[in-house]
C-alpha cells in the first residue's frame, strides 16, 4: 500500500497520494478546484483545452495538470499570479471565437464556459476581427447543434468512441477550420447518444426537445429512477409547475455511472400524450366517461361473484405490488401474475436477477450472451459489456445473429450450442466468465429441467463458484425482480402466463399490463388500471386512471436486486388515484382487511414484512443454494426477443413524439440500418 503512495506538496501543504494519479486528480483530493473543459473522469485524457494550467516548482512553464503524472517531491502551485495569468490567457483565446449569445443559449446558467469566464474572463474583448462562423451539423433528432459555440474539447468525440462504442463523431479540418461532425452528418445511432448533451461544456450540443423550454434556475429537481429498462439508472427529473421539462442522469458509480439511455432522457413528452384522465366504463360496446363512484360500484359487484386474476405490468412499484398481493389473497392463492411474458424462474432469487454486480461486468474475460440483445434491452449493461470487450474480453452470442457495437463470436441459435467445442475450450481457459441469459430464451422454456441444466452448466465451468455467481438472468422490465421478491406470481415455473387459462378466471385486473388484451381473456370481464390508453385499455370494460411513476412515490428493485426510490415530481393528471388507495377502497367495500391508511403506513408495513428491502442502494443477498442436477439437458426452444424497437418498447414511449422521430430518422434510414440492426 505504502509503495504506491508518494509525498507531494500542493500550495505548500504536504499531502500523500497515489503515485498513479495525475496532478489534477491530486489537486482534487487536496480540495483545490482546477478549471477544465476537455478533461472528464470517464473519458481518455486529451489535454487540448489548456484551461487546467498549474505551476510546478522548477518547471520553466505552466503545465496542463490533467496530462501531468505525479512525481515524488513535486511541489504544485494552483493559486499564484502566474497560474491565474496563464488561465486568463487561455480563456481569452477560447473566447476569441465563442459567440456572445448566452442570452439565447440553452446552456446558459449551467455552462462551464460561462461559469469559468466569471473567474478568468476579461470584461471586454481585445479582438476586432470577425468571429468565425461554423455551419450547424445534423446529429439526429435528439441532439441540437450550434457549432459556432464549439470550443473543440472533443469530449463528444471521445464519448462516442470510448463509451457509446459508435465511432461516428470526429473532428474534421484543423486550426481555424476545425469542426466537430458525425460521418457525413448522419444521425448518431447509439442508444446513449443523449449523454453528449451533458458532456458538452458549452452550448454547442444541446437537447432538441428541450430547446428554448426553460432556464435551469426555474426547474424543480426530483430524484427518480429510470423505469424504462431493468437497470434502474438514477435520474433527475426537472419540472416546472405540473410539467416535466427534461430528464438528466444522476451519478451512481454502481449502476449507470454518469449515463442514461436515450429512451428515459427523451420520452417524457409521451408522459402527457393519450393519458387516461377519468374512469371509463364500457356501455353498449362503447367506452364512455364515468365517475369513480360508478365504476368502483360496478367493479365491487363483479368482484363479489366472479373469480379474479391480477396482472402486474412492467412499470409497477413495490408498494402497488404489495397492496395488490394483500388484496388478492382474500380471493385465494395463485391469482397474481407479473410474468406476463412467460419468463421461466426457479424459486430462489438468483434465478431471476442479474447476479454479477453491474460494475464488475467489465472485469470479465469471457461473456456469453444467451438470447439477449443488451444493446436495445438495457443500453447501460451493453456499455459495461463494451468496457469488458475493450479489456480484451471475448464475447460469444447464442440466439439471433445480431450485430453489436463490439465484435462477438456467433455460435448458433439453440441453447445446446453452449456445448460447442469452441466455447468449452474458451471457458476452460477463462478465469472470470459471465453468462447472461435473456428473455428470448427464458420466455420460451417449457421444461424446468432446462433452467436447472443451465445452473448445472454454470457450476461445471466455474461461472458459479463459492464466492461468486456470474450466471445472470436479464429481463428488460423495471418491475419484474421486485414483484417476484414479493411473490406476485403463480406457482408454475415455466410458461406461467400461457397456463393461466387452465384456472378459468372470470375477471382480470390489469395494473398497467398490456397483456390483458390477450385472447385468453376474451371471455373475461377486463379492468385496466393504468395511465396510457393503448391496446390494453381499448379492450377493457372498465378503465381506471392511475398515476405515472413521476406522479407518486415508489420503490423499484433493479435487475441486480438493488432497491431504489423514485420520488413524486408533481400531482397526477386528471382524477388519477394511486393504486393502493383504490385497492383500499375496494377492500373496505368488500369488507376485507386493509390496515394502512396512508402511503407512509403502507410503505412501513411493506418494509416490516420485507426488512431486506429497506436498505436502499444495497444489493439483496441470496440465501438459498442453487439446485444442481446430475445430467445437463437443454431443450430446443425458438428465440423471441422481447424488444425489437428500442424507441417504442412500452406504452409511454409509443406515445412520445420524440421517440417517433427517432424511429423515422434513425431506424428507418436505410444507410443507418446496417449499423443499428
Amino acid at each position: 500500500m505504502s509503495q504506491n503512495l508518494i509525498n507531494i506538496k500542493i500550495n505548500q501543504k504536504e499531502i500523500q497520494v497515489d503515485k498513479n494519479l495525475t496532478v489534477m486528480q491530486a489537486c482534487e483530493i487536496a480540495g483545490e478546484e482546477i478549471p477544465r473543459f476537455c478533461y472528464h473522469d470517464k473519458l481518455s485524457i486529451a489535454g487540448n483545452c489548456r484551461m487546467c494550467l498549474v505551476e510546478i516548482e522548477k518547471a520553466p512553464k505552466l503545465v496542463s495538470s490533467c496530462t501531468m503524472p505525479l512525481m515524488e517531491g513535486m511541489s504544485i502551485i494552483t493559486n499564484s499570479e502566474k497560474v491565474n495569468a496563464g488561465r486568463k490567457g487561455v480563456m481569452e483565446f477560447l473566447l476569441i471565437n465563442h459567440p456572445l449569445d448566452c442570452p439565447i443559449c440553452d446552456q446558459g446558467g449551467e455552462c462551464d464556459l460561462q461559469d469559468q469566464a466569471m473567474y478568468y474572463g476579461f470584461d471586454k474583448s481585445r479582438y476586432k476581427e470577425n468571429k468565425r462562423a461554423v455551419e450547424n451539423k445534423n446529429m439526429g433528432p435528439l441532439v441540437n447543434t450550434i457549432m459556432t459555440r464549439c470550443i473543440h474539447c472533443t469530449r463528444c468525440v471521445r464519448f462516442a468512441t470510448e463509451v457509446a462504442g459508435v465511432p461516428e463523431l470526429g473532428m474534421l479540418g484543423r486550426g481555424e477550420n476545425a469542426e466537430i461532425t458525425t460521418y457525413l452528418e448522419q444521425s448518431i445511432t447509439s442508444e446513449l447518444s443523449g449523454n453528449v448533451i451533458d458532456l458538452c461544456p458549452v452550448g454547442a450540443l444541446t437537447s432538441k426537445p428541450y430547446q428554448f423550454k426553460a432556464r435551469p434556475w426555474e426547474l424543480k429537481r426530483t430524484d427518480s429512477i429510470d423505469i424504462f429498462d431493468s437497470v434502474g439508472s438514477n435520474i433527475r427529473v426537472d419540472s416546472r409547475a405540473e410539467e416535466i421539462l427534461r430528464v438528466t442522469p444522476r451519478t451512481n458509480e454502481f449502476i449507470n455511472e454518469e449515463w442514461i439511455s436515450d429512451k428515459v432522457r427523451f420520452n417524457y413528452d409521451g408522459y402527457y400524450q393519450q393519458r387516461i384522465d377519468t374512469p371509463y366504463i364500457r356501455k353498449n360496446q362503447k367506452l364512455s366517461n364515468s365517475s369513480w363512484e360508478e365504476s368502483l360500484k360496478i367493479l365491487k359487484n363483479k368482484l363479489k361473484s366472479l373469480k379474479p386474476l391480477a396482472l402486474i405490468g412492467e412499470h409497477v412499484d413495490l408498494e402497488t405490488g404489495y397492496s395488490i398481493n394483500k388484496f388478492m389473497s382474500n380471493f385465494g392463492k395463485d391469482n397474481v401474475e407479473c410474468r406476463t411474458d412467460n419468463q421461466a424462474i426457479l424459486e430462489n432469487l438468483d434465478s431471476y436477477r442479474f447476479n454479477t454486480p453491474l460494475n464488475e461486468i467489465e472485469n470479465s474475460d469471457l461473456i456469453i450472451l444467451l438470447g439477449t440483445n443488451p444493446k436495445i434491452e438495457t443500453p447501460i449493461i451493453n456499455h459495461k459489456i463494451f468496457k469488458a470487450y475493450n479489456n480484451n474480453s471475448r464475447i460469444f452470442n447464442i440466439g439471433k445473429d445480431i450485430s453489436f457495437n463490439y465484435q462477438t463470436e456467433y455460435l448458433g441459435d439453440k441453447l445446446s450450442d453452449l456445448n460447442s467445442e469452441k466455447l468449452i475450450k474458451a471457458l476452460n481457459r477463462s478465469t472470470n466468465p459471465i453468462i447472461i441469459i435473456g428473455s428470448a430464451f427464458l420466455n420460451k422454456i417449457k421444461n424446468i429441467k432446462t433452467l436447472k441444466s443451465i445452473f448445472t452448466f454454470a457450476n461445471k465451468y466455474k461461472v458459479i463458484s463459492k464466492d461468486k455467481n456470474n450466471l445472470n438472468f436479464l429481463n428488460p422490465y423495471a418491475s419484474r425482480v421486485g414483484q417476484l421478491i414479493l411473490g406476485n406470481t403463480t406457482k408454475n415455473l415455466c410458461e406461467p402466463f400461457s397456463k393461466l387459462k387452465k384456472n378459468k378466471f372470470e375477471i382480470v385486473l390489469s395494473f398497467g399490463s398490456e397483456h390483458i388484451a390477450s385472447e385468453q381473456f376474451d371471455n373475461c370481464f377486463r379492468v385496466y388500471f393504468g395511465h396510457h390508453g393503448d391496446e390494453g385499455a381499448m379492450k377493457s370494460d372498465i378503465i381506471l386512471p392511475t398515476p405515472l411513476y413521476t406522479e407518486k412515490n415508489g420503490i423499484f428493485v433493479n435487475i441486480e436486486g438493488r432497491p431504489q426510490e423514485a420520488k413524486k415530481c408533481h400531482n397526477p393528471i386528471g382524477s388519477a388515484k394511486e393504486e393502493w388507495s383504490i385497492v383500499k377502497k375496494l377492500s373496505e367495500e368488500l369488507s376485507f382487511v386493509f390496515e394502512p391508511n396512508t402511503f407512509d403506513q403502507l410503505r412501513s408495513e411493506l418494509l416490516n414484512n420485507y426488512p431486506k428491502l429497506s436498505i436502499f442502494q444495497e444489493i439483496l443477498i441470496n440465501d438459498k443454494t442453487t439446485p444442481i442436477i446430475s445430467d445437463i439437458e437443454f431443450e430446443e426452444c425458438k428465440t423471441q426477443y422481447p424488444i425489437n424497437n428500442f424507441y417504442m418498447s412500452d406504452v409511454i414511449s409509443k406515445n412520445s413524439v420524440t421517440m417517433a422521430k427517432c424511429v423515422e430518422e434513425i431506424i428507418s434510414t436505410p444507410s443507418l440500418l446496417e449499423k443499428s440492426a
Partner: protein
C-alpha cells in the same frame, strides 16, 4: 474565387463511381501494411490515402474513404479526419494538372505575384478554380521548401523553379500542347547552386 483550397475543405463528396483498388495498389498496400506492427494496421491510413488519391484522379472521394476504412477495418470518420487535416489530400475534384503557386515571403519577394497573374491568365482560371477544359486547377500555397530557387510552382509531382513570366507561360503552354517540360530550374541551375 470559388471556395477554398481543395485540400482545406471539410466537405467531402461522392464521385458516383465505385472505387476499388487497382492490382498494383493492392500489392503496394500489402507491402505498406507489413511495415506496421500487428494490430496497428490503421497507421497505414496516410500512405493509403495517397495511393487512393493517385488512383482517383488526384482527389479523395467518399468512395475512397469507405474503401480505405474497409481495407484497414477502421471507422470511416477516422479516415475522414486524417484526409481533412492534411492539405495535400484534395477533398474535391481537381484538374489534370494541380498548379500550386508558392506565395510565402521569399518567393513573393522574388515576384510570385507576377507568376500568379500569368498562370491565371494562361489557364483562364482563378485561384482555387478549375479551368473549363479540366486541364488545370490553380491554388496558392505556403512554402514548398525551394526558397533559394524562388519564385517557384509545383505542378502535380514536379517543381518548376527560377521562374519569370516568360518561362511560366512556356511551361503552361507546353502542358496544353502535350509537350515535355524541363523540370526544376528554368535558368539551367543545378539544384540550388549559386546563381
Amino acid at each position: 474565387m470559388s471556395g477554398n483550397h481543395p485540400g482545406l475543405s471539410n466537405n467531402f463528396s461522392r464521385s458516383g463511381e465505385k472505387f476499388s483498388w487497382s492490382k498494383d495498389n493492392l500489392k503496394s498496400i500489402k507491402n505498406i501494411i507489413s511495415k506496421y506492427p500487428k494490430g496497428r494496421e490503421q497507421s497505414a491510413v496516410m500512405p493509403l490515402l495517397y495511393l487512393a488519391q493517385e488512383q482517383n484522379h488526384n482527389w479523395i472521394s467518399i468512395e475512397c474513404i469507405e474503401t480505405i476504412a474497409e481495407t484497414l477495418s477502421m471507422p470511416k470518420i477516422r479516415v475522414t479526419e486524417v484526409a481533412s487535416f492534411y492539405s495535400m489530400y484534395n477533398t474535391r475534384p481537381v484538374g489534370e494538372n494541380l498548379v500550386q503557386i508558392c506565395r510565402t515571403s521569399p518567393c513573393w519577394l522574388r515576384g510570385s505575384n507576377k507568376i500568379t497573374n500569368t498562370i491565371c491568365k494562361e489557364t483562364k482560371c482563378e485561384i482555387n478554380d478549375t479551368s473549363e477544359d479540366n486541364k488545370f486547377t490553380v491554388v496558392e500555397v505556403e512554402c514548398l521548401g525551394a526558397c533559394s530557387n524562388g519564385p517557384m510552382i509545383q505542378i502535380n509531382n514536379d517543381f518548376f523553379e527560377d521562374l519569370d513570366e516568360d518561362s511560366t507561360k512556356k511551361i503552361i503552354n507546353n502542358i496544353k500542347e502535350g509537350k515535355p517540360n524541363i523540370i526544376g530550374s528554368q535558368k539551367g541551375r543545378r539544384s540550388s547552386e549559386n546563381a
